[in-house]
Assembly symmetry: C2
Homo-oligomer: 184 residues x 2
DNA sequence: GTCTATATGTTGATAGAC
DNA sequence: GTCTATCAACATATAGAC
């Protein structure tokens, strides 16, 4: 992995552990054992780091979607939820859960990226739920988009609340979420 | 209102607009037209501000609970949700939605307060849902505590996502949440 | 309670040598 | 690509006068 990618990877973890406003160039340069100027060479401004992290997340989600594309929708949803569970086990929240609270403090270019990432995720989830419902794999009322909002929001905040309310919180919410959608 | 309360009130809005790590003593002292040392007189350390804000939120929620205590549980829940809707209209997220992402960067005394606030809220919501279900006012499966987690998480993230995904987001999630719980 | 003044550290960022 | 060196701005926080 090249230096740029290593920085992006580290920044991603820092953002999802501490938040965008709580990490600094020092937090990147120290573990990589270079000076902060070296980080600035790859990413002139902090927002450039943030944008690279979001772009990487969008690309990686794209790869996942492709890998799941032949599965039935209920299994696709389960794969999606397990992506969050893996984050949970690492003590990390999701990018949206980290960046949405700080949204108003972010430079406009980052705001646009965050929004694009969210729309991308919601588009996929909406389609997955709609198709799954048509096939009888899911049972839910209302518009698929509204249901997608609730599903995404549950996983997002399950990661947040797991930190605060105890380590069984994610699993409880995960189980209840899937049981709601799959039950007749 | 005394100076201490004015500071607490302003800090509350800043935390729920920008996040705990993104506001400074200057953001408090400038609008109040005093020097930053005056803020330090009332709150020696930044964590003291944070703790005062959380304590105020706990007290205010206590008052609300009392005011609602004679209503049927479905109306209590509606009042609870409308509390979030009022925040939404002011462009503010809830304290938990702001502080949970930053949880690992907070001093221990603040972490304990955040946790206490969350448990307090969940306790009330769990009891409200359980009682409402017994009376046939709500319809849901699973443990009341798990359902309370989902309800709280939906309102929390509805405020977050409303900023990012567009201003109809909160209303959509609000409607779907209540319709899910009230339907037979 | 608020002020001036100051201490001390950190931040994001840049210039120029190697 | 990384370094040294440096910057201005801002952060949290304290001492002591009024």
């Amino acid at each position: 992995m090249n230096t740029r990618d290593k920085i992006t990877r580290l920044a991603d973890q820092l953002i999802r552990k501490q938040g965008y406003n709580a990490f600094s160039y020092k937090d990147l340069s120290e573990p990589m054992q270079v000076r902060n100027a070296a980080i600035h060479y790859h990413f002139p401004a902090k927002a450039d780091v943030g944008i690279a992290v979001i772009d990487k997340a969008i690309r990686e989600f794209d790869e996942y979607k492709q890998q799941w594309s032949d599965l039935p929708e209920n299994e696709q949803l389960e794969q999606f939820a397990q992506m969050y569970m893996r984050n949970c086990k690492q003590g990390l929240i999701c990018l949206m859960g980290s960046l949405a609270p700080d949204y108003l403090t972010l430079p406009e270019a980052m705001q646009m990226k965050v929004r694009a990432m969210g729309q991308d995720l919601l588009d996929w989830l909406t389609y997955c739920l709609e198709q799954g419902r048509k096939k009888g794999l899911f049972s839910f009322s209302g518009e698929a988009y509204d249901r997608a909002l609730l599903v995404a929001s549950t996983l997002l905040s399950a990661l947040l609340l797991n930190r605060v309310l105890g380590e069984d919180t994610f699993q409880r919410m995960y189980d209840q979420l899937l049981s709601d959608l799959l039950k007749k």
